[in-house]
Symmetry: C2
Subunit: 214 residues, 2 copies
């Protein structure tokens, strides 16, 4: 890490547990260097995974009343704050890249072992990450719905980028985002209206174009 | 906003309260465009206020056991997630720019009126911001300590930038960061060790150089 000298200095000055936690904090800074496929509003640059995680946490506070059933907002916030940390080692995987998504699982588990092994009580954060990945609890389903809805908002705001650049069709956008419905019918309605509008505006095509040589 | 067309589309598709909350979420995206004075680790670019807010929230989860007395981590996290939103209108103010810090208060209050007026229940987020600003509760003091410690970690990792660029001396760094002590003696010890080391390394000078013409 570029911050090794800082972590080493701290290790001589404070107790071992605190030094290890501060090393983890410094290591986590690298998430700011992981670019995603969506651009920030205004379209001037790609979004990174750290600011994306902040946006999801804020959305959890703002949109919690629209969850189906009862959720624990604090747990949803903790989940989205840590859900992308493994990308520091494993990189970001485009949600529409099916081959990469299959391959990433092992790499993310190795990354989790390293990052959440940096201090003894990091197992509490690892449990948040595992719960998010398993997608079995209401809290995890809501966190995952936000993780889908947020790029949909950005991509509509940016008039279909990066869908257009990557040739993503409306049926794939619907398939990927349908999980929002399990967490919130209202948010799924919002998502559908943006997808339908993107098609109407010509920012998304309903189906893939036939191959030119066909 | 660049996302106005998205907010307008949503206003025709979902109920008014949800549409207003989603407009707030889109508006908040602009915090990703507010640059701070510290660079991310590696020093390749300035940090922005959105990813900074994420980093503070993660630090709250990781460093809570080192708070003096008892704190409510969920409230600290909510506070740091919203503490910089007013910068969307008022801009970031360098902690060592005393004149700008005095002037910013009125601008930030106008910004708070606009942003936290975007949907009726945003007053809960405004209350978090007000509590952070007032610095009177244990939760707010811990949130503010993280807001000081985080750039100190980055600036040490970047070998004294931006202190060197802006001619900030060690006595000013100590004065600005001393508030950490009210929230956590352990974190203040960590901060002091980094300041002392920065002086020893020549990244911070103990006192201002005498004026050349003096």
């Amino acid at each position: 890490v570029d911050a090794d000298h800082t972590a080493e200095r701290l290790a001589t000055a404070v107790d071992g547990d605190l030094a290890a936690r501060l090393r983890f904090v410094l290591e986590a800074d690298a998430l700011k260097r992981i670019d995603r496929r969506s651009s920030i509003t205004g379209g001037t640059r790609l979004e990174n995974s750290a600011e994306h995680s902040w946006h999801l946490a804020l959305m959890a506070l703002v949109l919690a009343p629209y969850a189906r059933g009862s959720i624990d907002v604090g747990r949803v916030v903790a989940m989205v704050l840590v859900h992308d940390l493994v990308e520091i080692d494993a990189g970001d995987t485009f949600v529409y890249d099916d081959a990469a998504r299959t391959a990433k699982e092992a790499a993310e588990r190795v990354a989790a072992d390293r990052l959440f092994g940096m201090y003894p009580r990091a197992d509490a954060l690892r449990a948040c990450w595992e719960e998010f990945e398993a997608a079995e609890t209401a809290d995890a389903r809501f966190a995952r719905a936000l993780d889908r809805l947020q790029p949909l908002l950005l991509n509509h705001a940016n008039r279909g980028e990066p869908w257009r650049r990557h040739g993503i069709t409306a049926d794939r956008v619907r398939a990927v985002n349908r999980v929002i419905d399990a967490a919130s019918q209202d948010l799924w309605n919002a998502a559908q209206s943006l997808i339908d509008d993107a098609v109407a505006q010509g920012w998304l095509t309903e189906h893939a174009e036939p191959e030119e040589h066909a």
